[in-house]
Amino acid sequence: MKHLNLAIAAGFTFAALSVSAASAADISGAGSTFIYPVFAKWADTYKTNTGVGLNYQSIGSGGGIKQVEAKTVTFGATDKPLSDADLDKNGLVQFPMVMGGIVPIYNVEGIKPGELVLDGPTLSGIFLGTITKWDDPAIKALNPSVKLPSAAIVVVHRSDGSGTTFNFTDYLGKNSKDWADKVGSDTAVEWPVGIGAKGSEGVANTVKQTAGSIGYDEYAYAAQNSLSYADMKNSAGKVVAPSLDTFTSAAANADWANAKNFHVIITNQPGDNTWPIAASTWVLIHKAPDDAAATGEALKFFDWAYKNGKDQAKALDYVAIPDAVVALIEKSWSEIQASGKPVFATQ
């Protein structure tokens, strides 16, 4: 009996130890592929500094929303902000983490990387299927000096639900009434033409493999994989190249302070130097978490990332959230409470 008791006690202690070890060691999250490169970078440094790791599944925004609603992860990340009603229904709060750019990527024989210029209406026409050849007059007008081949355009889009798709289709809708009426904008839409590929990698690989193709991907992803991307004519009529600079200009227009639940979409923003297809990623987290310790660890990580992760974000061409907005966000964290007390104590 004595032995048995001892064994049980030992077992319990062991279980307790392993549970606390697990919650201290790993913050769990899932969602957006857009933010994954920068999360991976931050998590690496954060782990060396604090010993707390991040287990982030880059499965797409749709999956992230589902998993955080089901409480299988501590936080979710999405490139499409949830509506106020959806947030209330699931007891979630959302706040922006980073901003960045989405670029059209292409693989056309005879058009060198960075040579192609497109604008909103033309890009909408291509993805609607009304512009079907690379030497279409609309593309010619934007690229008078480029020798465009008379090849068919192969459109490549995401086949899975994706926040990148949401921001990209939102941009197309703002530039084409046809697109807004017929297709709309969401994480997954009814594509009129083209090939669907799964994930950012899928789109990148399909574009690489298919002659005459055009797709869209996160800039960080396109840059790291040395894909050819197009320059865009923005709403001010200026041609801009994707860069940290032009993304920052787009982000500067976002009025976070006056948006309820930080619901701001930053596509097609004004400004001469603004990249037109910019996007943000939001973190979703429960207001009344079951595991207050885990949520506390996650918030500590976000706080660290806002304050110490700016350079790493910049190095990957993401735009960090400005300090003034960070103050607003951290103030909003007082809503996240366990047994009547805020989980995150503002320093």
Partner: protein, 324 residues
């Protein structure tokens, strides 16, 4: 002497014990095998019931029209299964059109023409083909076959067959590389080993006496195959084809790579499309909203029904052939 008298008695006892034990063993064996059989039936029904429950929200919203609705719009939550059903059937048909003649050719070569020394290596090579994981076929199709078809075979088809009236519609441009045609070819290669190994086995069941006699009276190899071997093994051939078709209908990973995942029906075989299993694999993890998820489960239910119908049809054909 006493020993010899005792012997039968002991033997009887042993035999009786043995008999009793075998009765118990037999009961246990009976119970276990009945259990296994019941388990399979319960599993089958369980899968079907859970599919129906999962699909119910979509089926009650869209009704039977779900089956022939072409639209698949996650934004407006309007879902129809026609496009994936079309893609599933067309890719499987292409696979069969290419796969059956080639499999028969291989099987005839192996059983009738092949020198005995080559028979084993070729047979083993074909069996190894069956052992390649489907994702490898997908990668190969995506990285090698699709670009190859896009730059060579498809432009040729578009410029030749594409100009013929009516048939030309099936080979309309542009060449995407990825699409129904490529998926059909990958599937054809994947079903080859299944059809070939069964065809070869049933070809071998044709009695050597008949075969030798046929050759003896001066029939050519083709005539022997056509008039002796094939009629003799018809039942097995249909079985092999149906097994291949079953595999083609449900194949997921390889098809997802090369089908193009596009919810549009186009007349051209070269256009991107989607299949039931590819749609589920692509969209399930990130389907937002109950109707979306439920529609994907309803697709699964339809695939279940189609596969069931194919197998039932095969059984019916086999029964008819047996009676003949």
């Amino acid at each position: 002497m006493t020993v010899s008298i005792d012997m039968p008695a002991t033997a009887d006892l042993v035999a009786e014990q043995k008999a009793r034990r075998s009765i118990v063993e037999d009961r246990i064996f009976f119970g276990l095998s009945l259990g296994s059989a019941v388990f399979v039936v319960v599993m089958l029904l369980g899968v079907m019931v859970s599919l129906i429950i999962g699909a119910w929200p979509a089926l009650s919203k869209f009704g039977v029209a779900f089956v022939w609705t072409e639209r698949w719009s996650p934004v407006r939550e309007i879902f129809g299964a026609l496009t994936p059903i079309y893609g599933t059937i067309v890719t499987s048909l292409i696979a069969m059109v290419i796969g059956i003649p080639v499999s028969f050719g291989i099987a005839i070569f192996l059983t009738e023409i092949c020198p005995p020394i080559l028979r084993r290596p070729i047979g083993i090579a074909i069996e190894l083909l069956a052992g390649i994981p489907s994702i490898i076929y997908g990668l190969w199709g995506f990285f090698f076959l699709a670009p190859f078809l896009q730059t060579t075979v498809q432009p040729f088809l578009i410029n030749t067959l594409g100009n013929i009236p009516v048939i030309g519609l099936l080979f309309g441009g542009p060449a995407y590389g990825i699409g129904l045609f490529t998926a059909g070819i990958v599937l054809a290669i994947m079903v080859l080993p299944f059809i070939t190994s069964i065809t070869r086995d049933v070809f071998q069941t044709a009695p050597p006496l008949l075969r030798e006699s046929a050759y003896g009276i001066g029939m050519t190899t083709w005539e022997v195959v056509r008039h002796i071997v094939i009629p003799y093994s018809r039942v097995g051939l249909i079985g092999g084809i149906m097994l291949g078709l079953g595999r083609a209908l449900g194949e997921t990973m390889a098809v997802t790579f090369v089908i193009g995942n596009s919810h549009n029906i186009s007349a051209s075989l070269l256009a991107p499309a989607t299949t039931i299993s590819a749609s589920i694999a692509n969209e399930f993890t990130e389907a937002t909203g109950d109707i979306y998820t439920s529609s994907l489960i309803a697709l699964g239910l339809i695939l279940f029904v189609i596969t069931f119908a194919v197998l039932a049809f095969a059984k019916w054909l086999l029964m008819r052939t047996n009676i003949k």
